[in-house]
Amino acid sequence: MTSGLWELVLKGIWTTVQLLVFSSLLAAAVAFVAGVARTHRLWIVRFLAGLYTEVFRGTSALVMIFWVFFVLPIAFGWQLVPMWAGTLALGLTYGAYGSEIVRGALKAVDPAQQEGGIALSFTPWQRMRLILLPQAVPEMIPPFSNLLIELLKGTALVSVMGMGDLAFSGNLVRLALQESTEIYTYLLLIYFAIAFLLTRVMRGLEKKLKAGVGKAPARGVSVKDELTRPQRTGVGGGGGAS
């Protein structure tokens, strides 16, 4: 491969990384809002958050991307820059999966903690911020790590819309060189390297957060976690946990 083509691939990596960062931030924000809203005491808030989760978990990420790129501009007159359209579609889809993780982790906190907060007359917001979240967040990291890998894999979908990410630049190089084996092997290796890096970072984060509440990361994956994983992360997600 010539240096010009490598430059194209590097640009693709940069676009993929940008898209990954933006959409994971949006997904995390949406996941926390929707996940916390599903534990709200008003039924209408719970219902709306549940509706959002079901709709976005039920549909395919690629269909959502098509919808945001083609239907939003016509139906609502919102023409988004491709980067933001991709961020919106991926962030909302994976945020819906993430909200299940947030909800599950909040539910898994010992109820005595919640009751202790009530006994000390904390407000609901104080209970959430000072008691529930600090204990729930470290537990969310391993499933979030799996979801992040799924999101990384999902970013390749925007190449279908002609956005110049890693997969798209790979296709361009293939057209230029007519050499599929080499370029697609490189492409897969690059994605794998990014995924590997992400799992390392997330594992470090888990260690740090769990140390903050006096726990250590669990060794290996428990059988029960493995069997309920698709429910929790929607998309599979063996990720790097094993």
Binding site: G58, S60, V63, R174, S180, Y191, P230, Q231, G238
Partner: protein, 216 residues
């Protein structure tokens, strides 16, 4: 926002064609992933690390790289190696292979969940290894993992639109073709979006019923 029911009417015949292809890919892909996942899971339990190590690396690699790029790989590289398959076959193999690396984890968990006493009883009865697996361990393990496998079928359903990029005309492919020919994007894309939500919702209801029957 304009909604044109005529466009929906016009799209429906193509929709059914696409649905058929989607379901075909889903069923075949599921079968491959169930079978191959079991093979990986069993290989990971062989005593020799010369088997376990390569299988572990390959499956980890397949699991952590995008299905989309894997599909491109299969679609463009296999013909270079002299193996020409139809687009649908390539797609089915791609999806099946990708998800087998997930189902393998499920099988592993199911096998580990079989109580140690079952193994010991099989040893005490002097059952050969193959028979222990076939009549003692696997029936119990698989019963436990059926709901988890079903969840992956739903996940697979949501990944079938990717087959569009290798020219398979499944639901999304049909919708894209129709919208490009008629310049109506809103209706076909919304129809298939709703179809996906409906199918995966129905499938999850079905699964929950199945789970109740099998587990309790």
């Amino acid at each position: 926002m304009k909604w044109d029911w005529n466009a929906v009417d016009g799209f429906m015949p193509y929709f059914w064609d696409g649905l058929l292809v989607t379901l075909q890919a889903l069923v075949l892909g599921s079968l491959i992933s169930f079978a191959l996942g079991l093979v990986w899971a069993l290989l990971m339990r062989t005593p020799s690390r010369w088997v376990r190590w390569p299988v572990g690396v390959v499956t980890e690699f397949v699991r952590n790289t995008p299905l989309l790029v894997q599909l491109f790989f299969l679609f463009y590289v296999l013909p270079e190696w002299g193996l020409t398959l139809s687009a649908l076959t390539t797609g089915v193999i791609g999806i099946g292979l990708h998800y087998s690396t997930y189902t393998m984890q499920v099988y592993r968990a199911g096998i580990e969940a079989v109580p140690a006493g079952q193994w010991e009883a099989a040893t005490a009865l002097n059952l050969p290894v193959a028979r222990t697996w076939r009549v003692v361990i696997l029936p119990q393990a698989i019963r436990r993992v059926v709901p988890a496998l079903g969840n992956y079928v739903i996940a697979m359903l949501k990944d079938t639109p990717m087959l569009m990029v290798i020219t398979v005309l499944e639901m999304l492919g049909q919708a894209r073709l129709f919208s490009q020919q008629h310049f109506q994007f809103t209706e076909p894309l919304t129809v298939i979006g709703v179809a996906f939500i409906l199918i995966s919702y129905l499938a999850s209801l079905l699964l929950r019923a199945l789970e109740r029957r099998l587990v309790h």
